[in-house]
Structures are given as structure tokens and as C-alpha cells.
């Protein structure tokens, strides 16, 4: 439907030449801006192969930093923690956010607006405040600091991402599918699992992937709620950035970039299926 409209709205053939020229100028703009966006990232990648330890001088090509990376026990440990944490919190967000969005789309109640606002608050206020109150609040509840508190803290800012994605997707779904299934005698649970869930699955997954990426990137909240035994990768990167960047960190960021690209690719494929 949508695509059909879009085709129709292309300018008529008479104006084609003119608009083509215009497009060329706009192309330049797009490519220039993209180049600027990628410049610092390319620099970081480039310097991960720099043999010289100080970052200004180019001292020749080397893979040493990648080698050192794999021998750094505490770095690998924190990488493992980060991956587990991101998996857990994006899963919690996936379940809580999806159920919430589906439920919210079906009922009206007085505190609905308030609830929705609260769900979104964690991505709207400065992280440092969130980290601080989480720490104070968790210790008020007597929760031991560690993976549990990390997952809770991260889930709080992951839920909004899944919730928003699923909510937006639900708006686009034709309600008559579910109605039809009900008329044909399907139970509520069947309707959910057989009709609704498959339809919103791409939205759930892309919300979860975004959550995953955000969790994998979080520094501030992790610092406050991590506790004694668990350290996460971004915290390591951040503290090392402060104590002086080593090419090892550049190498690590390059590897992380690859992970990011893969995640983005997966999510993009899912988005496309939405159409």
C-alpha cells in the first residue's frame, strides 16, 4: 500500500532532468556528512594498528595490540560480564516491554498516561542521577550488588526501547486479524501466540537489539551498581581512557565496532521485513 503511494508521488517525467541534477547536489551533501561522521571512527581503527604507543606518531603497522588484548585476563573477564549482562537485560526488557505494550494497547485506565511517562523516564534523565538513585535505592532494598543489580538497572533503561518499538508496531497491525481469530473460536492465549506475537516479533527483536547495544555501551549506571566482583567492559574502557589510551583499547573498540555492525545488520534486516 505504502510503496504504491510512494511510486505515484514521484515527479512526472517532464521534470525528471531537473530533479536529477538537484539530486546530485543533495548526494554530495549526504556523502560529505557521512564522511565526517565516520572520520573519527576510521582514525581509531587506523591507530589500533599503530606500532607506536603514543597516539600522535605513526610507527608502522602491527597486530600486536590485538594479541595483547587476548592475553589480558581482566579485560576478557569484563567482556564476558558485559555480554551476559546485555543478554539478560535485553531479555528482561524484551519480555516486560512486549507484554506491557500489548496490554497497554488493549486497556484504558486512569494512570495509563502516568505509567507510560514513567516507563520512558529512564532514557530522559541524566544517567548520573539514575546511577546514583539506583545505588541508594538498591541498598535501601538490601539487594547485594553484582549481576542482579546490574541487570535491574540496565533493564530499567532497556524496557523503554522495546516498549516503544512494539507499541509503534502494534499501531500498524490490522486489528481485524485478531478479531477474526476470536470469531473463529480461538482462545485469547492462542490469539496472542499465533497471531499477535509473530506479527510483532520483528519489533521485539529490534527493540531487544537496541537494548543490547545500549547495555553494552553503558558506563555511568554500571559504575554505581556493579559491586565488588563484577566489572564491565565499557567501565574498563572509560577508566583506561582516563588513565591514558593505549592502542590496546583502540583494538578493543575496533572489535566492538564489528560486533555493532553485525547487530545493526541483523536489526536492519528485521526492520525491512516489517514492510
Amino acid at each position: 500500500m505504502k510503496r504504491y503511494e510512494l511510486k505515484n508521488s514521484q515527479p512526472p517525467a517532464v521534470r525528471k532532468r531537473k530533479s536529477k541534477e538537484k539530486l546530485r547536489l543533495s548526494d554530495w551533501y549526504l556523502y560529505l556528512l557521512l564522511a565526517i561522521m565516520y572520520l573519527p571512527i576510521l582514525i581509531v581503527i587506523l591507530y589500533s594498528f599503530n606500532a607506536s604507543k603514543t597516539s600522535v606518531i605513526w610507527g608502522g603497522f602491527t597486530l600486536d595490540w590485538y594479541g595483547e588484548l587476548f592475553h589480558d585476563r581482566s579485560l576478557l573477564e569484563s567482556l564476558k560480564n558485559s555480554v551476559i549482562l546485555a543478554l539478560l537485560s535485553s531479555s528482561v526488557a524484551g519480555i516486560v516491554g512486549t507484554l506491557g505494550a500489548v496490554g497497554m494497547a488493549r486497556v484504558q485506565f486512569r494512570s495509563k498516561g502516568m505509567l507510560e511517562y514513567l516507563v520512558l523516564v529512564p532514557i530522559m534523565i541524566p544517567e548520573i542521577i539514575l546511577g546514583m538513585v539506583f545505588m541508594a535505592f538498591f541498598s535501601l532494598l538490601g539487594l547485594p550488588f553484582g549481576m542482579t543489580t546490574l541487570v535491574l538497572g540496565h533493564s530499567a533503561f532497556c524496557v523503554p526501547y522495546v516498549y516503544m518499538q512494539v507499541k509503534a508496531r502494534l499501531v500498524g497491525i490490522d486489528k481485524s486479524y485478531a478479531e477474526a481469530a476470536r470469531d473463529l473460536g480461538a482462545r485469547e492465549r492462542q490469539v496472542f501466540f499465533d497471531i499477535t506475537l509473530p506479527l510483532i516479533a520483528p519489533a521485539i527483536l529490534s527493540g531487544m537489539l537496541l537494548s543490547f547495544a545500549m547495555s553494552l555501551d553503558d558506563v555511568v549506571i554500571s559504575i554505581f551498581v556493579a559491586g565488588a566482583r563484577v566489572s564491565t567492559l565499557p567501565v574498563k574502557i572509560y577508566t583506561q581512557l582516563k588513565t591514558g589510551v593505549t592502542p590496546e583499547i583502540n583494538a578493543l573498540c575496533t572489535l566492538m565496532l564489528i560486533v555493532t555492525v553485525v547487530l545493526v545488520l541483523i536489526s536492519q534486516r528485521l526492520q525491512r521485513k516489517k514492510m
Binding site: 573519527p40 571512527i41 534523565i125 541508594a136 572509560y238 566492538m256
Partner: protein
């Protein structure tokens, strides 16, 4: 009847989670903002309005004002740079659209600190750019490009640009281009059609982009720290400072409450103007 209770069951996990782990901490923050700082460490459970009165002092009002100014400048620049990008992107053929989406999202998902670090390598004294210019004989002394207000502004714009682009793009992409054609057929010039139709139809995207850029730019303390050489004090830095060096949690909480009120006011205004619940292109 059963259906209704089922729906409540669906909402329950989010409801409970949100009350417990979002509303709970926020209430705690609110309470904290009315308490008194203990002499050396921690808080005393004594009610006081002192923290809010303190924000009224010239120095701290100034900090808010400076943050707002920087946030406005950031927002204006991202809009100026991001709007054409989102607009042109929406006009691309379907296949290239997906590719561009991908290209925008990747830096957006990459560690922000790392990207800032890339800029530092380029722009610092004796960095790549200065070395290049010196080799060409164009300069012979350092340009001192980093550690000032301009550098912070540029860093903010760079970090927040994707939000604006995605917002504008998502509303431009949904736009009905036939309306523009119709206007032109009726004799409107291109710019007239743009102002009366395109701009109006993409307004929700613009507004949502404005919010998504404006709000974080008041709190992004690490950019001010790294690119500003620690010299720019924003509300975010002030809060950080209260927590980490003055040890004044109640004052930090009061600052955060005000910042949150400000944020909420902004979003409320957006909803009033657009009559919409959603922020375009947040995801």
C-alpha cells in the same frame, strides 16, 4: 470478562517493574532533595528547602542559563545540518534508503567516548591536522582548536546529529509527496511548496528531533569534560561535581529534580503542539 483480566496480567510485569525500579528511585530522589547534607558525609533526615533556594543563587542560575544557551545552539545547529540530510535521505530510492539508514545507525551505536577520542587525535595541538598544515607550511604555531566552547559545541552537534536526522527522516519518509506536486501544479514555486507543505508536514519530526537533541545536551557532562578541557560547566557537570567532590547529594538531587521538571515541560509542550504521543524516530 476473562479477557480484561488477561490484559491486566500482561501489563502487570511492566507496572510492577516500573513502580519498583523507576518510580521508587525517583521518589527517593525527590525526598533526598528536601533533606539536609550531613556535615562530613551522607544526609541528615531533616526537612529543608535550602537546596532549592540555593539553586536561586546567581552562580547556579548562571550555570542553568549557560546550559540552556549551549543546548539551544546545539539544537539549532543539528537542525540546520540534520534537516537537509533527513529530507534528502527520504527522497532516495528505496534500496539506498536502507543503506543510508544502516550508515547512520552504526556510528550512533558506537561508543561515544571512542568517537570523541578520534576527534581528539585529529584536532589536538600537534595532532594530525596541525601536523599536516605545518608540513604544508600554512601555520607555524598551534591553532589551539580544542578545549574551548566551540569544541564542546561541535562535539555535542556531532554526538546528537543522528537523533535529528532520524527524526526528520521518519516524518519526511511518511510524507505524501503528491501534495507538493499538487501545490506546484497549482502554480506554487518550489520554495513556496516547501515552506507551506513540506515544512508543515515534517513539523512533528522537527519537533521530536528538537526534543531528542535538546534534552540530552543539557546533561552530557563527559563531552564538556573531554573536549572542553573541564572548563565548561553545564548542569550535568554541576550535578556530577556535587556528587563526586562536594559530596552534597541533596543539592545534586534538587538540581536533578529541576532538570527533570524542565525536561517534562518540554515533552508536554511537544505533545500539546503535535497532539501526538510518540516521538518520531526515537528508535
Amino acid at each position: 470478562m476473562g479477557r480484561k483480566s488477561n490484559n491486566w496480567l500482561l501489563i502487570a510485569p511492566m507496572y510492577i517493574f516500573t513502580l519498583l525500579f523507576v518510580a521508587g528511585p525517583l521518589i527517593y530522589m525527590l525526598v533526598l532533595s528536601f533533606l539536609q547534607k550531613a556535615d562530613v558525609w551522607g544526609v541528615e533526615f531533616v526537612f529543608t528547602l535550602k537546596n532549592y533556594l540555593k539553586i536561586g543563587k546567581q552562580v547556579y542560575l548562571n550555570t542553568f542559563w549557560e546550559s540552556i544557551k549551549l543546548a539551544f545552539a546545539t539544537t539549532a545547529l543539528t537542525l540546520l545540518i540534520g534537516y537537509p540530510f533527513g529530507y534528502f535521505m527520504a527522497k532516495l530510492p528505496e534500496k539506498r534508503k536502507t543503506l543510508f539508514m544502516l550508515l547512520i545507525v552504526i556510528p550512533f551505536w558506537t561508543n561515544a567516548l571512542m568517537r570523541m577520542y578520534g576527534w581528539i587525535i585529529l584536532f589536538r595541538s600537534n595532532g594530525l591536522i596541525e601536523q599536516g598544515l605545518m608540513a604544508l607550511g600554512l601555520i607555524d604555531d598551534s591553532l589551539k582548536m580544542l578545549y574551548n566552547y566551540k569544541a564542546v559545541l561541535a562535539g555535542m552537534v556531532y554526538a546528537l546529529l543522528p537523533f535529528m536526522i532520524l527524526s526528520v527522516y521518519s516524518s519526511a519518509e511518511k510524507m505524501d509527496w503528491t501534495l507538493v506536486e499538487a501545490a506546484k501544479d497549482l502554480g506554487a514555486k518550489s520554495w513556496q511548496a516547501f515552506v507551506t507543505i513540506t515544512l508543515k508536514l515534517t513539523l512533528p519530526g522537527i519537533l521530536s528531533g528538537v526534543i531528542l537533541v535538546f534534552i540530552p545536551s543539557m546533561g552530557l557532562f563527559f563531552i564538556a569534560d573531554i573536549l572542553g578541557g573541564g572548563k565548561i560547566m553545564l548542569v550535568g557537570n554541576l550535578i556530577q561535581n556535587q556528587l563526586m567532590s562536594t559530596r552534597d547529594w541533596p543539592f545534586a538531587a534538587a538540581l536533578a529534580v529541576i532538570l527533570m521538571l524542565f525536561t517534562t515541560l518540554f515533552i508536554w509542550g511537544y505533545k500539546k503542539i503535535t497532539h501526538s504521543d510518540e516521538l518520531e524516530g526515537l528508535l
